[in-house]
Symmetry: C3
């Protein structure tokens, strides 16, 4: 896959996550401009930073490359200024979040493969890249991370990362496989949001709660 295409996908994901992170922050806690932009940047860059710690690829690419920093800060600032208008576009926000999740899961897994890690490691690191930034955001604003509670959040990332790793093992790696894997992840996520699908809950506990 052309490096430029990978970079563009990564930057689109960064922007989507910065916007989404800053908007989530605006909804839950009263923060000033520094807080909103900081949370946008942490959401956008956190997953890639954790990825690079796991892959021993420090200093993190998201920190060294000014384009990531600029796109993340820009997304946070736009959310700060235009927040009230964007909140009405709830659907758009969800799509952006699903796009960020998908792109990061795919690019994270590809980076692991490029650095010579095994398939299991690539799947795990892709998933962590996808869900990491949002998890840091939720910890900072004192929410239980959506990766733990919200229906189908980690699962689509896991599926997307697995798809791109399988494509690599089959020797069909390339832009088509990457975009397909991201689209698959994005679709599962959006179906999950739309129909409020959840992964299975623990057996007996659920029964108790129904009583």
């Amino acid at each position: 896959m052309a490096t430029t295409a990978l970079l563009v996908l990564d930057l689109v994901g960064t922007f989507a996550f910065a916007l989404n992170g800053a908007l989530t922050a605006l909804r839950t806690t009263r923060l000033d401009i520094v807080g909103v932009v900081t949370l946008g940047m942490i959401t956008a860059l956190g997953g890639g930073t954790i990825r690079d710690v796991f892959l021993d690829s420090l200093p993190p690419a998201t920190f060294v490359d000014w384009r990531y920093l600029a796109v993340a800060a820009g997304g946070g600032l736009i959310a700060f200024v235009a927040g009230p208008y964007l909140e009405r576009l709830n659907g758009t926000i969800n799509v952006l979040d699903a796009a960020g999740l998908s792109l990061f899961a795919v690019t994270g897994a590809l980076k692991a493969l490029d650095l010579g890690f095994g398939p299991a490691q690539a799947v795990i690191v892709g998933t962590i890249t996808g869900v990491g930034g949002g998890t840091l955001r939720d910890v900072l604003i004192r929410q239980v991370p959506s990766v733990l509670t919200s229906g189908l959040y980690a699962v689509p990332a896991l599926v997307g990362a697995t798809a791109v790793v399988v494509a690599d093992l089959l020797g069909t790696r390339g832009p088509v496989a990457s975009i397909s894997a991201a689209a698959l992840c994005c679709t599962i996520r959006m179906v999950g949001v739309h129909f409020d699908v959840h992964a299975p809950f623990p057996p007996v506990r659920t029964r108790r709660e129904r009583e």
Copy 2:
């Protein structure tokens, strides 16, 4: 100490922590299968990951070696499926947790010594390895980490790590010293749980609260 023995101890600790972390998650928040297994894995692998950041031993051993990943995921899955039955065995869970704490404190300190760090660093890193995973778990499910509040949690880890470092300085390092240090840590922890022992509280504050 034979590498195999060290690995076995480490894997037993990983399994004990994955089981314990997933069960703690089941008790405090309503999580689906992804959330339960994720928290089990974070509890089991988090301490070793932080250890490897401090020791500049990236990528983390817990991430590169599939055995750690498999044992941690297995522990989380077992807790998910058999959670309600295991909760009745509260004593067993406490023993497993104490075992994980002890084994990680000892293996963490030994890894620091092997990599040429000083005794103070080995003691600190052993303690962090023991308490790190549970601390990450508690942050994610919004509990004040038990290392900060619960009587004797960090102290036994500190004692166990110190014992193994002293044994190393005295030239008596080996399986016997390691097992003894772990047993010492485990005993202190279990005595603390049983008699509800706490480290000293701040002087005046306690008096105020009693009034």
Copy 3:
């Protein structure tokens, strides 16, 4: 700037943050001696640890160098023993915190420049070094981090780090520039505390809340 002078500034900042972190812990949650000292150490050493992850300068200097460990532990212990007396000196504590913030922002940015990072990276890493420890502390005791909510906390760190980077670009780097940048940061922080200044809040949200 002489290495010794940099080290002394860094250790003063470490002590100030350990004292402040432990006192904050005493105020908000009931912790025993292990919890108080641990939180003091995390507040004092956390920012430098995150800095060294970003700069790929692992193992962290704060962990390898016993002087940081000793000063941080000492500050936490003093706060534990003398906490009730120190709390009356609220002004002193605020000054110590501002001093820690300023010194870490400046020394963090200088370390990034020394390691060959660009100006934007140096400013960001200086700011993270200043606010990182307090953020970890707040997450552990379940507060929304003051960097997100409290008026002018990240801004002075950003200004101090920027000042020292600009001085470096102008070729006037040295003890005078460093102390001036730290003093500038410290002054802005203290003015912010005194007059309760905040960075701007989001536009419409504020209006809604006034209604």
